[in-house]
């Protein structure tokens, strides 16, 4: 943190910074974060970008998702019409929904490639075992996000792909029936399923992924980025 010039000739941004620094000790809090060393090979090797790309996609998904939630109506009668409305009538609606779609696919690809890098570089070894476990959970949550978002537009693809997906999950021995019952909320895909998928997609999964991402990043910060290939 630069030392601030004293007196009345401070620049506006310095004044604003000082106002917060006087109250929150920003200098003490931020210096260890912004000065924390990143290994040189992590800065120069593009393979180390994959986690960051996944996180960027996540941020885009949050932003565009909030936008979509303002217009979307999660009932079988209204859902399709509201998505059509977003695509045709809402300003920038088509772009934002398409961005949500592309960011979701890119995020899943980035998470998978990120996991492959960690695997082949052996970065999951001591002391990072638990961060690998959190990471695999994040992969599961990311794909579940994709699966739960699939049903929401309530078009032919959405309906039938969900039918196959819940059917597959339902065939797992012992727990399958319960998983199917929890997801579908009845005997067939309908209003109950939609409410559940919407709640999972916009409430349960976002809260879970936010907590796990914090854990993931905190562990990277504590344990450092792993060594060279």
């Amino acid at each position: 943190m630069p030392e601030l010039p004293r007196g009345d000739h401070m620049r506006l941004e310095d004044k604003i910074y000082k106002w917060f620094d006087d109250r929150f000790k920003l200098k003490e809090l931020l210096t260890p974060i912004i000065k924390h060393p990143a290994p040189e090979y992590a800065v120069t090797n593009p393979l180390y970008c994959l986690g960051g790309i996944a996180f960027l996609c996540f941020l885009i998904l949050v932003g565009t998702g909030v936008f979509l939630a303002m217009y979307y109506k999660p009932t079988p009668l209204e859902a399709y019409k509201s998505v059509e409305h977003i695509m045709t009538a809402v300003p920038m609606g088509s772009l934002i929904r398409s961005l949500h779609h592309w960011a979701a696919n890119t995020m899943i690809a980035a998470v998978m490639l990120h996991m492959m890098r960690i695997y082949f570089m052996g970065a999951y070894k001591k002391p990072r075992e638990l961060n690998w476990v959190v990471g695999v959970t994040l992969l599961l949550i990311t794909t579940t996000f994709g699966f739960s978002g699939y049903l929401l537009p309530w078009d032919q693809l959405a309906f039938w792909a969900t039918k196959i997906g819940t059917g597959i999950a339902g065939s797992i021995p012992v727990i399958g029936e319960y998983i199917s019952l929890i997801l579908v909320g009845g005997t067939d895909i309908g209003a109950e399923t939609m409410t559940r998928f919407f709640a999972i997609h916009v409430m349960i999964l976002p809260i879970t992924i936010a907590i796990l991402l914090l854990m993931h990043f905190a562990m990277v910060r504590i344990q450092g980025i792993s060594g060279r290939l």
Partner: protein, 152 residues
């Protein structure tokens, strides 16, 4: 000025103890790289979203099964394995194995990777088994993805 002083100070401190890593500060070096990549990715996403908008088919109709229906690309291998596995093992039906193996066993193994692989080395030349298994897993996923598309 003081930015440079802090860096000097850190360098001095490091020279007293054994150097563990050659590092650059998170800000601005690491973050700048990250922001450049983020701009490129965000730009590409906006481009893709404008050229290929997200699709919307006809409204859902429970009485009209469309053909073919594919799951999302990241589930194709699960679907492909289900199609591929047609052998009952004892009293367990083929369908149950086809579902359980990729969903439970595959993800279970993924979770256990750091506890199965006790080899402390992270040098790729000293991890031949782990690397070979990783390559086999990737080839398997690619094969079953291909299988699910061709033998739909």
């Amino acid at each position: 000025m003081s930015l440079i002083e802090i860096e000097k100070h850190e360098v001095e401190e490091e020279s007293h103890e054994p150097v563990r890593i050659r590092g650059l500060p998170f800000f601005p070096h690491f973050l700048l790289r990250e922001v450049v990549v983020m701009c490129l990715v965000a730009g590409s996403l906006i481009l893709m979203a404008s050229i290929y908008p997200a699709g919307l088919l006809k409204p859902a109709d429970p009485f009209d099964t469309p053909t073919p229906i594919y799951p999302e690309w990241y589930f194709l291998y699960v679907f492909g394995f289900l199609k591929f596995w047609t052998w009952n093992i004892g009293p367990i039906e083929a369908k149950v194995i086809g579902v359980t193996l990729p969903m439970v066993l595959w993800y279970g193994l993924l979770f256990l990777v750091p506890f199965i692989d006790r080899n402390p080395s992270s040098d790729i030349r000293k991890r031949k088994i782990a690397v070979a298994l990783g390559v086999i897993a990737i080839l398997g996923i690619l094969y079953f993805t291909y299988y699910s598309i061709v033998y739909h």
